[in-house]
């Protein structure tokens, strides 16, 4: 069973390596959106420190959203998705492998770019550390919840817009606690603990529920 998980994960990563532009677009989108704010609102340290956490998280949401549409759509178009549905492997596992690949390609790089982005907003070192931790916990939730929407809107005309309308409201808790943790880190580092715990709780519950929901949604969408 683990072998199947690995082979689907490996497949998606290999496909991304062969089509690097798709991945790079998302990352540059994130970088550019985040960099536009200091240019627009001026370079005053106090303003940027207040804006920073929120802007980084909103940009992360949008960047994760951008790649979401292709999560199942590419497989749907060339028929590999129906073959995945017809294997004797649990669909939940295959879906989880695809979500993991999505996170490795769009979530993890955001975590790694966080220090660079934090510097633009004059965030303190502890705040940057907390931001990385929060992104590390929060971005997988974005991929997991997003997969449900991607599966539901599969094959629909104008699916991309619908997907955003469906999924962005569900991202709100992650946004609130993710940005909240970073803001608090500037004031009192130990106070961020409950925020991170909550993000971890979101991660665990969506890790269990989202693949199940996405698998069910895929079966409906393929009909």
């Amino acid at each position: 069973m683990l072998k199947v998980f690995w082979s689907v994960l490996h497949r998606d990563l290999l496909l991304a390596m062969r089509r690097r532009t798709d991945v790079l677009t998302t990352l540059f989108f994130f970088l550019i959106v985040v960099s536009l704010f200091p240019l627009g609102v001026g370079t005053e340290t106090a303003v940027l420190r207040t804006l920073g956490p929120g802007v980084v998280w909103v940009a992360a949401l949008l960047a994760s959203m951008l790649a979401l549409e292709r999560l199942f759509a590419a497989d749907f178009e060339d028929g590999t998705l129906e073959q995945l549905l017809l294997t004797d492997q649990p669909l939940v596992l295959l879906v989880l492998a695809k979500i993991t690949a999505h996170w490795l390609l769009t979530g993890l790089p955001l975590v790694l770019m966080a220090p660079l982005v934090g510097m633009q907003y004059h965030l303190t070192d502890p705040a940057i550390g907390i931001m990385m931790a929060a992104l590390l916990l929060g971005t997988p939730v974005l991929s997991l919840i997003g997969a449900i929407g991607a599966a539901l809107t599969l094959g629909l005309r104008g699916g991309g817009i619908l997907l955003s309308l469906l999924i962005l409201p569900l991202y709100i808790p992650v946004l609130v606690y993710g940005a909240g943790a970073v803001e608090l880190a500037a004031v009192e580092l130990t106070a961020t603990r409950p925020y991170l715990m909550l993000l971890a709780a979101f991660l665990l519950s969506s890790l269990i529920l989202a693949p199940l929901a996405s698998a069910a949604a895929l079966r409906i969408s393929i009909e």
Binding site: S7, D78, E82, Q83, Q89, E223
Partner: protein
């Protein structure tokens, strides 16, 4: 083996077929015929469990395919209108992945041998998007060589193939039937069998 009782399917408001009954056993080729739009593909996809019938059920070895779930899919190989191969992956990578997912033998030698037999020697490690329509179809059909599934459901497998590939595919289907397998297919081509029996099902009358 494969049994269908009072099957009814609609697409949108249109009734495609209703009250469909048949039962086919091992070593049989079931040839589904009918004009375009008569519901052949819908029937095959319903047999796979990709579509839910509006009425009636499909049974495999006496049990409903819904209840069997993964156990049914282990016995099934479906080949649809879409090839189900990734254009950015090579033939070897595609076939290996398909075999791993189907639980078939997927070591390098078997996979290369299968591609050579299907007539793709020399094209094994080229991304499949660079291949011609017929060659893409051949790559997808190479799964039939590796497959040990007793039930094959093939939707128009002969389109875009040249005469050599048609002969080979006919041979593969005949072998599957001779080995006690069950093949359900739609095609406008005749498939000569060496042993086993062939039946016809006509839709849209």
């Amino acid at each position: 083996m494969l049994q269908v009782a009072q099957l009814e399917c609609r697409r949108g408001d249109r009734l495609l077929f209703s009250g469909l009954d048949f039962e086919v056993g091992p070593g049989t080729l079931l040839h589904v015929r009918g004009r375009n739009g008569s519901g052949k593909t819908t029937l095959l996809r319903t047999l796979c469990g990709l579509y839910t019938a509006d009425h009636g059920e499909v049974h495999w070895r006496g049990e409903s395919i819904r209840a069997l779930g993964e156990d049914y899919r282990r016995d099934l190989l479906y080949f649809g209108h879409l090839n189900g191969i990734k254009g950015d992956l090579t033939g070897v990578e595609n076939l290996r992945l398909a075999a791993t997912l189907d639980g078939d033998k997927a070591d390098t030698r078997t996979v290369w041998a299968a591609l050579a037999r299907i007539g793709l020697a020399g094209f094994e490690d080229i991304p499949t998007r660079m291949l011609s329509q017929g060659q893409k179809k051949r790559t997808a059909l190479a799964r039939l060589i590796l497959s040990r599934a007793p039930l094959w459901i093939l939707d128009e497998p002969f389109t875009a193939l040249d005469t050599d590939a048609v002969d080979l595919l006919q041979q593969l289907i005949a072998d599957q039937v001779a080995n006690g397998g069950l093949v359900v297919l739609t095609t406008h081509q005749e498939v000569p069998l060496t042993s086993g029996q062939a039946c016809h099902l006509d839709l849209g009358r």
